[in-house]
């Protein structure tokens, strides 16, 4: 770059733009309609999902999606996850990450533009703002005008509505953690005694209001890590909202362009109307190329298409395209689209693999879980007659909705006697332990050998828990240690 060029960039174009308020303009078009649809769907899911009921029988909550912290359960429709199965949540997070990578490889930061909660709620807030204060130009005028009665009325009603939305958003989040209709009824009748309900609604109201009302694009630009990471995850085949400068440049007025075209001189389709910048929710000029501030929402495409239609030029001067294709067209080559690449195929395979593995383990998991913990101190005890005793803590989790009885048997150490503290052996000398519906029970288990001699060191020992009715058996292995 020559020093003259450097100079021109420095003088014309600040390297760091001074912070300024963005007033996105209203726009209509194909992508705006897609965005409306997705926004409606995501908000509807968020606000109404807690009210979906799901019958799980007597002893379980009948809310379809519920994070039950007091009882340490997570319910998602027909799935019930116990604390020891929390790896399913890990699996879901892995799936979510892979889906994000796949989305990114196919169409860049499409998540940001359509489904990111920050985008969805900012859009919701903008719509409210537009409804009260009018479109971009009116809002600028209003902000610059002195405080009149009308301005106060508008500002107050806007912030009131924003707070209302924020409050309802924070409230809806609380509903995922407790029985939704009950808590709504309690809140409505001022009978909610739990302070933390109010605290959480307050915190989430505040964050929603600040993030969607005040921070808006600043959160995407300064706080979100995703735009920083995604540069490493994208490649030259990923679709991006792209200004096709091969077609747009040099910019000139419609009249000049017509004249230039007639004279067979280079002419661009971009009339520099600035509509793409005016509608951008993050205040980006897409004509400067792919950049950190662009959330790929495609609203500039709609704005530009509307102008192109008016000046009778082909649509999609801005469109979902790749930088590579623009360059190819400049060289007279045809555009290429490659959705199937090593990257995308790998992501799809990984997603299928993880999802498949999770489905299989979920479908075949036991409704009985046993864990065992060997005494640490002492590891083993010498008995009077020269025998050895080891102590264990066994924890039984009955994941069924009815109480069940289990017999405990032990194998691995010849002649070892099993004793469960607080449980007397039944008529056949077998220890039977009862575990309530959807509950866990801990038992202290003593395993003793008698008489001198026996092995030295340690041997694996297996506890078999058998359902007294169904005969279904669960095994868990630990060690027996000789002192």
């Amino acid at each position: 770059m020559s020093s003259a060029e450097t100079q021109s960039i420095l003088l014309d174009d600040p390297i760091v733009e001074a912070p300024h308020k963005v007033y996105p303009k209203k726009v209509d078009g194909q992508f705006r309609r897609i965005k409306w649809g997705i926004q409606f769907a995501t908000l509807a899911i968020y606000y109404f999902l807690p009210f979906v009921r799901w019958d799980r029988g007597l002893n379980a909550p009948s809310q379809a999606v519920l994070v039950d912290f007091p009882h340490r359960r997570f319910y998602f429709f027909f799935i019930e996850i116990w604390p020891q199965e929390v790896y399913y949540v890990t699996g879901l997070l892995i799936l979510a990450a892979l889906a994000l990578f796949l989305m990114n490889a196919v169409a860049g930061r499409i998540w940001c533009g359509y489904m990111c909660p920050q985008t969805v709620w900012t859009d919701f807030y903008l719509t409210t703002e537009r409804w009260i204060e009018g479109d971009a130009r009116d809002r600028v005028t209003l902000d610059e005008s002195p405080w009149t009665r009308d301005k106060i009325r508008k500002k107050v009603s806007k912030h009131f509505l924003w707070l209302l939305i924020a409050w309802w958003t924070g409230g809806a989040w609380v509903l995922y953690f407790t029985d939704a209709p009950t808590v709504v009824w309690k809140l409505a009748t001022f009978r909610n005694g739990a302070f933390d309900t109010y605290l959480w609604i307050g915190i989430l109201t505040f964050t929603t209001y600040v993030f969607a009302g005040v921070m808006r694009e600043k959160l995407c630009l300064h706080a979100c890590p995703w735009p920083r990471i995604q540069a490493a995850l994208t490649d030259e085949y990923a679709l991006n909202v792209t200004y096709r400068y091969d077609r747009g440049e040099p910019r000139m007025s419609l009249k000049q362009a017509t004249a230039a075209r007639a004279a067979n001189l280079p002419s661009g389709d971009c009339v520099d109307c600035g509509q793409c910048v005016a509608v951008c929710p993050t205040g980006v000029d897409i004509r400067k190329g792919s950049q950190l501030g662009c959330i790929q929402c495609g609203l500039c495409i709609d704005a530009c298409d509307a102008i192109m239609e008016k000046i009778h030029r082909p649509a999609r001067l801005i469109g979902y395209d790749t930088e590579m294709n623009v360059k190819r067209r400049q060289c007279g080559e045809s555009a290429i689209y490659k959705p199937f690449r090593v990257r995308t195929v790998l992501y799809v395979l990984l997603i299928l693999g993880v999802a498949g593995f999770m489905s299989v383990t979920l479908a075949t998991r036991d409704d009985m879980h046993v864990s065992v913990l060997h005494d640490r101190n002492p590891l083993a005890v010498r008995l009077k007659d020269g025998g050895v005793r080891n102590g264990y803590t066994l924890r039984f989790a009955n994941k069924k909705a009815e109480a069940r009885s289990f017999t405990i048997a032990v194998s691995g150490v010849a002649g070892a006697q099993l004793e469960i503290v607080g449980v007397t052996p039944g008529n056949k000398g077998k220890a039977v332990i009862e575990v309530g519906p959807d509950q866990t029970r801990e038992a202290r288990v003593l395993l003793s050998t008698h008489g001198a001699g026996g092995s030295k060191g340690q041997a694996p020992v297996t506890f078999t828990t058998t359902d007294a009715v169904s005969g279904e058996a669960t095994q868990v292995t630990d060690v027996f240690i000789w002192p």
Binding site: P14, R376, L383, K384, G422, S448
Partner: protein
């Protein structure tokens, strides 16, 4: 660009330096310039300044609301008479309210019924475990594994009986704890120090006792040893060395040895007599805790 003198600026006079937009950053300058370097006008963000002031106000308010300022004879009491002591007291009271129902059940239930009720057993073990860690672990070890001279509570050998009631009695009144009249008490005579037996005789008895222990290096019983044992030891430790929990006389025929089964240890025990001391816990721990502790200890070894 003009250079500005410092006093012009401190006087709060209108800036004489040229305020302009910095081309590289797009930010206005202050008009301040030193050696050709201009200062950009980037004031602290308003929210930051406000937060700063609010923290100061908050900090001052805090010292007024809570006890903070020292005075000659004490300190300010704050507005709500709050203190960490009353806070702890109310927290403890809250805890007792929460635990009240289950502790009440433990207090009310007969000792042997606690173990057969899963809920009470779990609660008693939990309470007992904590009480054990606080009061008992320093001698008996974190898991009740004991040490030389301190009983292992996980085995099946119980000097004073291993039933729930026996364990509770031992915890309540201690062992050889003379301040408690109901304490477990017995005395092993100092056969050597008091001149009851000669060192040779002690050695013979020690060898004899070791035959009960079935240690690999023990000899066969001798008539002399048998005679000395019957005359001096059998009254407490039993004719066959089976011991007597009534008087805390350990069984000598088994494999569990509080002080060790090697000959020098046994010789020393016979020569010097005596026994370990355990403090009485009645009065220091409340009855419910002692009950829970007894259940916990019983569950460790489930002794007879």
């Amino acid at each position: 660009m003009t250079t500005m003198s410092d006093d012009t600026f401190e006087n709060g006079q209108a800036r004489t330096g040229k305020v302009r937009i910095d081309p590289a950053s797009g930010v206005p300058t202050t008009g301040h310039e030193w050696d050709g370097i201009e200062e950009l006008n980037t004031p602290l963000p308003r929210w930051w300044v406000w937060t700063f002031w609010i923290t100061i106000i908050w900090g001052v308010g805090y010292t007024i609301v809570y006890p903070a300022w020292p005075t000659l004879s004490g300190g300010t009491q704050g507005l709500f008479a709050w203190s960490s002591r009353t806070q702890v007291a109310s927290d403890v009271a809250d805890l007792q309210t929460t635990r009240g129902p289950v502790l009440g059940k433990i207090a009310a239930a007969p000792l042997d019924k606690i173990e057969s009720d899963p809920e009470l057993l779990a609660a008693a073990r939990m309470v007992g475990k904590v009480a054990f860690a606080t009061n008992c672990a320093s001698c008996h070890g974190a898991g009740g594994q004991g040490a030389k001279g301190y009983a292992n509570l996980n085995d099946d050998d119980w000097l004073w009986g291993g039933k729930l009631a026996d364990i509770k009695q031992t915890i309540e009144h201690g062992v050889r704890w003379d301040a408690d009249k109901a304490t477990r008490s017995s005395a092993m005579p100092a056969f050597g120090r008091d001149g009851i037996l000669t060192p040779e005789q002690i050695a013979i008895v020690a060898d004899h006792v070791r035959t009960y222990a079935e240690t690999p290096d023990s000899d066969a019983p001798t008539p002399q040893g048998e005679k000395l044992y019957a005359e001096n030891c059998a009254s407490c430790h039993g004719v066959e060395g089976k011991g007597n929990p009534e008087m805390g006389a350990p069984a000598l025929y088994d494999q569990v040895w509080l002080y060790g089964a090697d000959k020098p240890t046994i010789v020393a025990r016979i020569a010097n007599g005596g026994g370990a001391v355990m403090p009485a816990w009645k009065g220091r721990l409340d009855d419910t805790t002692i009950k829970a502790l007894a259940v916990y200890v019983h569950s460790l070894g489930g002794g007879q």
